[in-house]
Symmetry: C2
Subunit: 151 residues, 2 copies
């Protein structure tokens, strides 16, 4: 098999693993009243909260998208929007006690699923996997996405 074909095969296996992992995390989070994007937002909130623009930058999302995610979390009672004393345009998103609990549950869900997925790999394979994926990520860093053709 050629190297390109092997690359495609690896990518397909990766897609398959990811889809199943994602599905398991999604289902478990749903039972805990969360979605993956919302759980990530909870995870990004420190103790002092965070302006929405910082979330947009951190997750590379449009401001409107952050409004949507924060709306959902606020409806669920997991965050509150609080005024920023230094800049009246800013609304700081802060965790409620329920939000902190939800975040802890989400973290537990995540590590449980990761263990379900990778738990039976021998240490050597796990280390190899980490090394190879790190290399792939570095390759992606070094080869940014080409912009759309202009012609």
């Amino acid at each position: 098999m050629s190297s390109v074909e092997q690359g495609v095969q690896a990518a397909e296996l990766l897609l398959r693993v990811m889809k199943r992992m994602r599905r398991r995390v999604d289902d478990a989070l749903t039972e805990h009243g969360l979605t993956l994007p919302r759980a990530k937002v909870l995870g990004a909130l420190g103790d002092e909260g965070c302006p929405q623009a910082a979330l947009a930058a951190h997750f590379d999302l449009a401001p409107r998208t952050v409004t949507e995610l924060v709306d959902g979390l606020e409806r669920a009672g997991y965050v509150e929007r609080q005024p920023d004393p230094d800049d009246r345009r800013v609304r700081r998103v802060t965790l409620t006690d329920d939000g902190r609990e939800a975040h802890d549950r989400a973290a537990h869900v995540r590590s449980t699923v990761m263990d379900q997925v990778f738990g039976d790999l021998p240490d050597e394979d796990l280390q190899n996997l980490i090394r190879i994926l790190t290399r792939v990520n570095e390759h992606l860093d070094a080869n940014p996405q080409p912009p759309p053709a202009q012609g």
Copy 2:
């Protein structure tokens, strides 16, 4: 580092690689008038077309979702709905010539991106990656998702 922590680290790397791969494929498909789910549907259509229920079963989607995807492909001129001579309830989804071309472009996009992502890995790493991911998939097969708790 514990094995569980390594599992979490591997999962995070995997998520990161996947997200970037997915983003590149998405962007390239957008330039070709497609989305990932729609491209997959195109790929599943043989020469004789396919009833929508078969697509729903194949991709594990609700019938309503298939209606939506096929609507989009039909608007783009990539598929047509044709009556089934044997069962008047059934609408067979068939590729148009444009649809065939779009599918070919999508396949090319996919393998190009896969090569961008994995193309610089040494053969040994690629083979290891394939072996390890195959094992993970087998582990997932052997450990189906537990149903939601009933208490």
